[in-house]
Amino acid sequence: MAERSFAKEVQKLKLGEGQEFSGEGILAITKALLECGVGYVGGYQGAPISHLMDVLADAQEILGELGVHFEASASEATATAMLAASVHYPIRGAVTFKSTVGTNVASDALANLASGGVTGGALIIVGEDYGEGSSIMQERSHAFAMKSQVWLLDPRPNLPSIVSAVEHGFELSEASNTPVMLQVRIRCCHVHGSFIARDNKRPPMTVADALENPRRDTQRIVLPPASFLHEKEKIQKRLPAAIDYIKRHKLNEVFGGAGRVGIIMQGGMYNGVIRALQRLGLADVYGETEVPLYVMNVTYPLIEDELLEFCATKDAVLVVEEGQPDYIEQALGAMLYKSGATVRLEGKSMLPMAGEYTGDVMLSGIGNFLRTHAGEMLAPAIRAPNTPAPPLFEDLAKAVPMRPPGFCVGCPERPIFAATKLVEQELGKHHIASDIGCHLFSIMPPFDLGATTMGYGLGPASASAFNSPDAKRRSISFVGDGGFWHNGLTSSIGNAVFNKNDGVIVVVDNYYSAATGGQDILSSRADNRTKSTNHPITDAIKGMGVKWVKHIERTYDVGKLRDTLKEALTTEESGPKVIVASSECMLNRQRRENPIRRKAIADGRRVVKTKFGVDEDVCTGDHACMRLSGCPSLSVKQLDDPLRDDPVAAIDENCVGCGNCGEVADAAVLCPSFYQADVVNNPTGWERFWFGLRQRVIGWLQARRESRRLVFAENVA
């Protein structure tokens, strides 16, 4: 069960012809797939398209009714390989994943798929994780389209354009026997808008039909000599077919008037370009502009005649192409040069080579372009802007702390790193390899653990060189359960077994692919109606040949974790030492348990709710506990007591009583300030009786002592 439920929203997927659909971009994509008669869908979760997978998962009933097969693929490679169903059969298929990390993983399957080509439309929806909000290295998916010769759609970021791109994507794929990549950027995935729906369509041929009537065609299999033919076919047949389709259906759009300067842009850049023109007084609020615009809703292949025609009447054109290398600008430059054009080509000369094209980057880049080449179009004030320098807020910058993402309240991964830090205090620093997932937050304060991250499931693999009999110290590597099943089992664990790696591997098991939004995976403990769960990680590891495997079923036991980790680092046993540390992701657990708990309390059933607290007069304000926690719920507060210099620890009401504070105070021998308060709702009569009795005895003891001493009124904080 994912972090966010789309159960309500997916009802919109049932809308029919002429009805207005209103919602998020990803939901619109799903609706468009169904309108196109898609036969099967799959993918791997990851921002910004995590929610697309969640929508699909929540829409399984609707998909089922239409005869559409849905899979939550094991990896992006699996997802792309699934598109093989469209190789011989006229079935439309779509998969989705984040890019470029997902495309990297998928590229083996992608290259094979692209070589043989497809019969049914094959659509790969990639969430381009570039710019603000991205969690990965900054690269472009464009290169994959070029190298594997698949077509790349980059529609304008509004719902009607995205929906149209899905429709044309399938048709283009079928017309050119080539898979098509549909690229959507982060904010586009979550943009809220509307479009007019059409009826959903049952796939003309379902996967069941195909299974009943198998087909094959050796010409489509990637093996010599067919593979040599594929390479030529790509250029001689498929590319011309694609160009023909793109031109015929005018997938690229031309806007604006007949000016002597023009702007050529990726479709995804359209709103940013228009906003810059609006602010320069050259476009109205609906995007009507005098400036000629060539909008590439297809960014690969480039349509040479369209581009040359657009440039023919211009003195200068600006290419707005986000990210690097500047493939489009280079290609356009070559085209213009070969055709003997004299138009001035600007692009990265006006706009930054690298990084996101934000609003102010666009404004200044396009502003400069127009000032240089078409100053007369601009109002005088804009032609020579008299912009005062931005104010200096140095003191404010100092007062505003950085706030990188970190572990949530009660996160079960926090105690794992607290334990690791304690082990390092005892045994010294180690080389620690990190992986992709929430656990990567360990690299930041307060833990500051981890030296590299090399890819999903590759944490232990990235420590594989550190295996030397000459060293007294072992490496420690982390991998999450998500990465473990994605490819860690073979690439990391298998590799360590085979190469007799002596390092320590910690598998962080939180029951979900948590960082991507809490999707179920093989080892999830939940019962999932459509998926097979509850496959223990430890079984898989043992099956892989690891001899030393320890399973910790409650990560909050910091002492045990510390001792186990210490044992793994010091044992005589050779070969990989694997610790599986399991506790449920707290975000998902709360989401799962809260409604149940609320109902139980309302129904009069006994429910215990735990919270931690700090005795502020016992706390001395050293904050050692924070340095082993970083929990958002554990903070500091200033006491109204002039005798105290430093703020003391305080736990707010968001505390979920995970236990880390108490465990850490114990394991690290910190201080006795923490207390755990368990509130029993609807206690039994017996419990209430005992509670009353104890309270009376305790009250008597308190009164006895307090009657013999001076008692000062407590400060009311």
């Binding site: 921002a47 910004p48 929610h51 603000e132 909000g133 982060i186 904010r187 979550h190 809220h192 609006q278 602010r279 320069l280 007084g281 609906y286 934000t358 609003g359 502003g367 109002a379 802007p385 005062p388 807020f393 404010l396 100092k398 007062a399 505003v400 706030r403 993402p405 572990f407 929430c438 930041m444 960082a515 919270k611 607290g613 304000g621 924070m626 970083g630 958002p632 200033q638 109204d640 002039p642 430093d646 105070a665 114990d666 690290a668 021998v669 006795p672 207390y675 308060a677 368990d678 509130v679 029993v680 104890r694 003891l701 308190q702 009164a703 002592r705 307090e706 001076l710 009124a713 407590e714």
Partner: protein, 524 residues
Amino acid sequence: MTFGLPEGPDSTRGVIKLAILAVGGQGGGVLTNWITDLAMRCGWHVQATSVAGVAQRTGATIYYLEMMPKDPARPEARPVFALSPSPGDVDIVIAAELAEAGRAVLRGFVTPDRTALIASNHRMLAVSEKIIPGDGRADGNKVLERVGEASRRFVHFDMEAIAKQAGTVISASLFGALAGSGELPFPRSEFEATIKAGGRGADASLAAFAAAFERAAAKEVPVAPERMEAPGHGVAVRGPGKLQKEWDGLCDRVAAFPEQVREMAGLGLRKVVDFLDCAYGREYLDRLEKIIASDRADKDYAFSREAAKYVANGMVYDDIIRVADLKTRSARAERVRREVRLKGEQTLLTTEYFHPRMQEIVGLLPARLGAGIESHPGLMDRLNRFVDRGRRIRTDSIVGFGMLWVIGGLRRWRRSLLRHKVEAEHLGKWLDLALEKKAEDYELGVEVLKCRRLIKGYSDTHARGHSKFDRVLSCLPMLKGRGDAADWIRRLREAALADADGVALDGAIRTVRSFTEEAKENAG
């Protein structure tokens, strides 16, 4: 003030641009959906975007909306909205926390010519602020001041508290503040209809909405509540008549102190008496009187004031007896009940997390016996094996509570115990050192007193504090005779509080060493 924005015929002036800055998990998404729904309800064009993903996990996040009324002449036309906010081009910024309001200003989203900033002025501390051994909190007043200057209008109050009071989350009070500010041209009823349409939890949300609405709509900025009168002389106290009389006598002595010292001495006295007894209070005042007698009125009794504070803190050391005593008081039980909001029919279990080691246990023994054991490391180790483990004590049970109650009762024998002897000696030495330095250099004496702040915590943390204290004071000989010695001790102390491992302190000590050695060489 503009950020590269030319003054021109911007055609999007009729578009309301709204950015929400929040901390992941605060419910910025809910607020975004509400505002989207509200605008659609009112027949406007609206577009909302967000950045989801792992960035949302407790980190700074941003949501962005643009909206404009539909043109009756062009009902089919759709405006082209931007997907992210641009510096200098935002009309309304909502910040769900004070530092995030500051971040909005730093990112240029708040400009005095047009931006209304609606912010909750409570703080959610970032990890970097919490892990400093001293006080690492950012300067909230600076943020308030700068943010106020940077915005056209600044609506701020504690919206988190309002939400909490109503039993809901901050998105509701932010929505209320937005409505109350009147920055959006929609009637209150439409805001409320939006919340009601959300279903579950609507009542609590509406309550928080209403409270925040009234606050934001009020013309006058409410004055911050008066700082509470610091307790001191005449503080509420109860107890047997004989002790009360003794206490009054002690208070009379404080009353005779110079005004500058009185408040701190009153608080110190209370702390010391609370720790042990009135006799201990007398001891404290004896010390202070001696110090005051040798102090200087022209220095405003700065030394005595700091002594009143730090001698009290030094005399009230953190031993097991004090912890047990504090945890078994009725006021404490009351506080815990308040904190968990214990209701009538609920019952409460409390567990205390202790991890005593032999060092602490030895401190509880009579001085001679304790010192004897301590002088045999082998024996200490062996005994430690029985002692050194985490102990979870249930203070709602009679046995657990009784155990702590008995330990708390050891209070009256404290003077004969090892820990007391050690602490008293340390205190004496430190005070003598401060007095000695004061005689040479008044300010230096004050700074030596203030170094007491470094000693805090329990077990290893306490030992580390002691070591920092010693290392800072070990620089005194190097600084001898220098006019800026006091300033250097202050800097060393601040360095010691900057991080746990003493990296900053090491650096500061190296600096002191380098220039003092240089001075020596030059002299030689």
